[in-house]
Every structure is written in structure tokens, then in C-alpha cells.
Amino acid sequence: MFHFILADLRRNWIGALILALLIALATALGVTVTLQERALRLGSARAAAAFDLVVGAAGSETQLILSSIFLQSAPLPLLPPETLATLRADPRVQNAVPVGFGDFVAGYPIVGTTSDAVEMLGGLGEGEGFSHMGDAIVGAQVSRAIGDSFHPFHGAVGEAGEVHSHVEYRAVGRMAPTGTPWDRAILVPIQSVWATHADHEHGHEPEQTAGLAAVASVPHDHDHGPGFAGEAVDESGLLHTDNPGVPAILVKPKSIADAYNLRQHYRTETTLAVFPGEVLTRLYGTLGDARRILGFVATGAQVLVGAAILMVVAVHVLQRRRQIGALRAFGAPRPVVMGMVWMEVFILVAAGVICGFAIGYAIVRAISGYLARNSGVAMPVEFQTADLWTLLFLLAACAAATLLPALIAYRQTPAQALRS
């Protein structure tokens, strides 16, 4: 029986291959939609997992999360300086680190923060933390070696900006990989960011411009000179209010209860406190709708391909009625003939479906790899138990659908088949 099926498939291998390929591509379409959406969701959730609570100035919650966790640069209003000082002194807070953006170098965002942020993000991979104004810690994916120097550009990633030629950073450490956009970030002391921008944004009204580009009123040394980079970082300033403030503060509360307390406490008219998870959940809701629509489209395509293939197979079986009739004439029992036709079609379809899962997986791996290189968000591409059920369900559906050509074969009497 298998002999015969294999011989028949081998003889019609081009047609069989094309059928299996069509089924594989239709299946891959659906698998890609599911896996990619999951990879995006898991990847962004894991990227946000290190951050319990984010505090920013009143404004858009989504923008706050996108900017502070996913480092998508966008102008954010600044928090008043006392917020950081208060948070760092708060007994419910284990750690509160400021994040200030506005500059980049070669496509990598420069993030002004404090040295304890490194520990919060997963620690150093090599080198050391910053202790001077000109020190920088590069993310795991940043193509700068320890010891390299660079000038920051003002502006956002991807835009032409003005070079801060008077400021020079030198990489002193590299963070361990985190699988988050922070792998593409360059961490520098927040004080140096304040100083850099204070210098060149002179005269703007802080309320009207945003981000650290808005820094205007810090007392600072206009002529940084060679001594600037060598100045020691003075973190005591963080507890004072004589700084321009920051757009966002990442907070690690001591307990879950503290987290809810703090969130409550900082939801005021001027400040905003959010759990990244709640914002992401909202985003996924939107994403989920898109996924459902894509899912319907993919399912529709699969059904159409499936129907077309069933037609082709049915026609093929009708064309083979002489051969099928001959098998019966030579004494093959009807169920055997039916089983053979069914199995031959099912082998093709099942091979197509299984290949489709593999192809879909490969496509999502490729897309996710590309996205991860560009965003830093590691995207876990993984099958879950639910996918196994989907696969089994698909195979069962195929098994049922391929009964159609088998039934056509079943209904042919040997005499009918030979007469044609």
C-alpha cells in the first residue's frame, strides 16, 4: 500500500510538490500572524518587565512608556526637579533613577541617568560604571568599544542634528545584554546631559520646548573646556532642586503595596505614574484587534487555498478512475482503495501544513531578528501548547476534507472505471 502511494507520489512529484508548497505557504501565513504578534507582545512585555513604575510629568501615558522604556525619542514635558529628590528620599522607594534623552550618537540614543541605573537594568558586562562627567556606559548592542570617544548629536535618532562638539564622552563600561531597547542605549551621567543642554538651549522657555532640550536655567560653566569631562559626578545634586528636572523617572518600589501607593501618590495634576504593564495591556488590546483581522484574512486565504486544492485533487482522482478501477478489478477491497487515495492526499496536505509551520517560524525568526537589531527588543519566537492544538486541529480538518476525493474513489465500481 505504501509502496503504491510512494510510487504514485514519485511519479507525479512536480504536481505533488506544488500542492504541498501551496498548502505550506497558506499555513505559513496564519502561523506568521500568530507567532509575530506573540513575539511582539512577549518581547515588549519582557522589555518592560525590569521597570516597575514610571513617573513622568502629566501628559500621555503611552508616550511616557514609549520614551522611557522603549527609548522612542519624543518631546516629553519635564518633571519639576523636586520630584526626583522626593522620590529618592521616599522610604517606599528602593531605587529611583532619572532618565533624560535628547541626544544620540550614530543612531544610538544617549540616556542621561545615574550610576545605580546600571544595576537596575541588569548590571555591567565589562568595564566599570561612570564616575566622571565624560564617562559613558554603552549598551550590549552598541558598536563602541570601551575606550572609544564620541561627541553627542543633539536631536533624535534618525534626524540630522547639531553636534555638541564641545562635549566628549568616553566609553568606560558595557552593560550585560538585557534584551531590551536599552541594549542600544549609551548611558551617561544625567548631570552631564543637563550641562550640555543648558549650554546650547539658552533662552528658550522651558514650558514651550520639551525634553532636556528645554533645559535653560541651570547655573553652569559656559566654557566646558578640557576639564569638563574629567569632573567627578556629583550625585548629591540629585537630591537638590537646582537642576532643570527630568522627563521621566524609573522607580523600583520596595514592595507591591508600595508600588500601588506610589502610583496613587504621583497621579496628580502635574505628575503621572504608570505601571508599564497597564499601558502595554492597552496597546495589546489594539494590537489584538489588528491580529484578529489579520487572522481572519489568513484563515480566509487558507480556506480558499484548501478548497482549490481539494478541487484539484478531486479532478485528479476522477482522471485516475481507470487506475482506481483497475485496482478494484485486481481484487483490492474498496476500503483499501479508499484508504490509499485518502492517505496519498493526506500525506501531501499534512506535509504542507507541517512545512507551513516551519516556514512561518522561519519567517517570524527573520522578521524578529531584524526588528531586534533595530530596536534592541529581543523578540522571543516560540510555539506554545495552544499551537500544538491548532496543528492537530488543522490536521484533523485536513483528514476530514481529504475524505472527499477518497469517497469519490470509493464510489467507483471497477467496471465503470474500466469502461471509460
Binding site: 503504491f4 510510487a7 485496482l327 478494484r328 478489478a329 485486481f330 481484487g331 483490492a332 474498496r334 467496471a415
Partner: protein, 221 residues
């Protein structure tokens, strides 16, 4: 060893006023050889289909050794045919992707869960007997004469009590046709099988013990 006895057989097709086959009475002794002749449309194919159980007899009795196959359901006729009939057809019905040996064994493989013991050596023996030297050769690469000889070996593999050949030499050249005719007659006699051959081939017809002449579905004298 099968003997045929037909009583009151009538086969009608919808839309045709006269029966396609009308045999009030016919018998063949076990081991007898019979040629079935007549113009096309005379009912030869219908006769073959009925006596091999491939088609349902409308009315009447078609008994092989007292087993009335006209009374069997389709599955029962299939099983009876698998056990008792070896078929040789005009256009061979060999399966091109398979070797000569696999073709000979195919009906056995399909009608038994496991290949009956001793069947493989028998297939090789039969192939050697019909002059096929390489049992592993794919039938698609064979000449028509060789293919029909493989088909003869296949018909004999299950030691059938009845061998039915439908125009076995019609699509072969004279030389191959003669070889196939020889093999059919010799092998049927060796096995003691009843042989029915529908043919227009005069040399094959005259080697049969008896000639059944059909015209318009009836036996002519």
C-alpha cells in the same frame, strides 16, 4: 478449478430497450478454455464484467462451483474476485512507478494485510517463467510485449481458479502477441485454471477448447 453455470441472466442498462446481455443458460466445465468472440458492442465486456463480479447482474444466476456471485454484494464480489480471478487486460493496467515484481505482488498486497508467505519467490518464479529477467525493472521502461507478460504473471500469482483475458494480444505486435497467447494457454493449463479469453486474434481463438460467439448480447450457435 472453477466451473461456471449461468441461468436466466439478463443485464439491462437504463435507456436501452434490449438487454445488453441475455443468457438463458450457459455452462463451462472446470479447467475448460473458452474464446469469447463477437463484434464490438455484442456484450463481450459486459459478459466479462458479470462473470468476474465487477458488475452486478440484473437478474439470473451466475454460479462458480455453485457459489452464486450474482447474489453477493459488491464487497463480497470483490473478495471473491480477489481469491478466484486472474485478470489480463488489453492495456495491461500495470502501475508505472513500480517494478515488475511489485506489480505482480500488488493485488496480493492490497487484498491481504500481509503478503502471503511464499508469494515473493512465486512472483520471481512466474516472472522468470514469462521471460522477464529483471524483476526489479520498472514497468515504465518495458516494451509492450514485456508489459503484457508481466500482466500474465500478475494474473497467475494468486493461483486463481479462473483466468480472464480481455483482448490480451490486441495491442501487441504479432510476435509479442503470439508469445503472450502461448503463455496464457500454457500457464492456465499447468494451473488447471478455467480460461476465458475475449479476442479477435484468430490464432489465439483456435487454441481455445471452445468458442462462445456473442451477437447483440445473445449467444449464437
Amino acid at each position: 478449478m472453477l466451473a461456471l453455470s449461468v441461468d436466466g441472466l439478463q443485464v439491462r442498462y437504463p435507456g436501452l430497450p434490449v438487454p445488453a446481455l441475455d443468457l438463458p443458460s450457459l455452462s463451462l466445465a472446470a479447467g475448460e478454455t473458452a474464446a469469447l468472440v463477437g463484434p464490438s458492442g455484442s456484450g463481450k465486456t459486459t459478459f466479462i464484467n458479470i462473470v468476474t463480479g465487477m458488475e452486478r447482474a440484473g437478474s439470473g444466476r451466475v454460479a462458480w462451483n455453485d457459489e452464486n456471485i450474482a447474489g453477493l454484494p459488491e464487497g463480497g464480489r470483490d473478495r471473491w474476485r480477489a481469491r478466484n480471478v486472474g485478470l489480463v487486460m488489453q492495456d495491461f493496467h500495470l502501475f508505472p512507478g513500480l517494478s515488475a515484481e511489485a506489480n505482480v505482488l500488488l493485488p496480493q498486497r492490497l487484498s491481504h494485510l500481509r503478503l502471503p508467505a511464499g508469494m515473493q519467490p512465486r512472483a520471481r518464479e512466474l516472472l522468470a517463467r514469462v521471460g522477464i529477467e529483471r524483476p526489479e525493472q520498472l514497468v515504465g521502461t518495458m516494451s509492450r510485449g514485456q508489459m503484457q507478460r508481466v500482466a500474465v504473471a500478475r494474473a497467475l500469482a494468486g493461483r486463481p481458479g479462473l483466468i480472464v483475458a480481455d483482448e490480451p494480444t490486441a495491442s501487441l505486435d504479432a510476435e509479442s502477441g503470439a508469445a503472450v497467447a502461448d503463455l496464457l494457454v500454457e500457464l492456465a493449463q499447468e494451473a488447471g485454471s478455467t480460461l476465458i479469453v475475449a479476442s479477435h486474434d484468430g490464432r489465439l481463438i483456435e487454441r481455445m477448447g471452445r468458442t462462445l460467439r456473442l451477437a447483440n448480447g445473445r449467444l449464437a450457435a
